[in-house]
Point group: C2
Chain length 210, copies 2
DNA sequence: GTCTATACCGCGATAGAC
DNA sequence: GTCTATCGCGGTATAGAC
């Protein structure tokens, strides 16, 4: 977790004296939240300005363009995901691929939860610009790491053999990524619980254990 | 499956003589495809006109507005889903909730595959307009039917009891709905195969059966 | 059912004062 | 770091001829 420079995190608007306005990171947080709620394309700079209570041009002091906001958000998500997935796969390198896969899935859930807004935005990118295409490419690369783990576990005979490993990868990603549609870290379910639930359902299935 | 009026399904552009141009349904198919590829908000009427090789105003002959295109697409997805889920839950009414749940999941996969473009669009709706909010509400109602089935199966003791039934519902939806991100009916995997794979992984889990 | 031309608006972004 | 004012573009949608 690399921290960013924080200047005046408090409420703006009342201008306490000294430095008014927003710092760059606060603008980014609000932008990500709005992008997720309305969609990136459906969110105008004016929407964000109104939401923050400042004028449009004030935002251009912090970010060169609307796309620069998106870029910063996608970078955060991609860096968090790639480092976490790589670390998880690495920390368990002497175990079976099956165990490493399970550890990686749980790690992916944790990082998704920790960076939920940024990851949500990343997962909705459609590839409409060079920036978005680049993000999709980086994401595809991360996915490939997990797909490799699935193939290894399948080769070791620990996964069901009636479903293609590539399909298994897709289904695993599908369930994990779908958390962005409803899970909230400040809700009633702790991150450890949801990570265990996802891994449990994925690996043991829904049926009651006898 | 209610059919729509089809007039001149053939290739346009060369104007064979008689009636040139497109029928309403062809315009809708292409619109849905573009909306899915670029996102609804990022797709302009001009994009669609260029894609079809006609002028913008020609499109307004078939649909009153851009939103009317979205409305028609969402209706198709919602009608298909609700009727299919209701039918599946109904056809197996004398079996256990567990078996009915599994049958409903497979039916949901099939209908999702059959109406893939429209369902994909539906799942990406954010609620940015009254129309979109209405679609989200109808979708929530369909989800509730499956959630009820999950609760029944849990009450009958056939589901693992270490995960909340509401969470199970979310995870099931997550995996099923994620098919829209990659599955293609004209690809190498037949619909029956993917439906069996999803149900198998969900209910038995990924582990190799001993 | 299509076309050209256009009205009208909101978008991203900039200039320059405070 | 903020503001007002504005530019230029591209958006949805319409008018009316063919």
């Amino acid at each position: 977790m690399s921290d960013v420079d924080v200047e005046a995190p408090g409420q703006p608007g009342r201008r306490p004296r000294g430095r008014p306005g927003y710092d760059r990171d606060t603008v980014l947080r609000r932008a990500i939240e709005l992008f997720n709620r309305q969609g990136y394309d459906a969110t105008s700079i004016n929407d964000l300005a109104v939401d923050l209570g400042v004028s449009k041009s004030a935002l251009y002091h912090h970010f060169d363009s609307k796309e620069a906001l998106l870029s910063a958000a996608l970078d955060e998500a991609l860096e968090g995901l790639s480092s976490a997935v790589a670390a998880a796969a690495d920390a368990t390198r002497d175990e079976s691929a099956y165990d490493r896969l399970r550890a990686t899935v749980e790690a992916a859930v944790h990082i998704l939860v920790a960076h939920l807004p940024a990851v949500t935005l990343l997962l909705r990118v459609r590839g409409n610009s060079p920036l978005e295409m680049s993000a999709l490419e980086r994401r595809r690369h991360i996915d490939e790491q997990l797909a490799t783990l699935v193939r290894q576990a399948a080769a070791e005979g620990d996964l069901r053999d009636d479903v293609d490993p590539e399909v298994i990868s897709r289904l695993v990603f599908g369930m994990v990524n779908s958390l962005t549609d409803w899970y909230r870290p400040d809700g009633p379910i702790p991150p450890d619980t949801i990570a265990a639930a996802v891994a449990g359902v994925l690996f043991q299935g829904l049926h009651a254990s006898r």
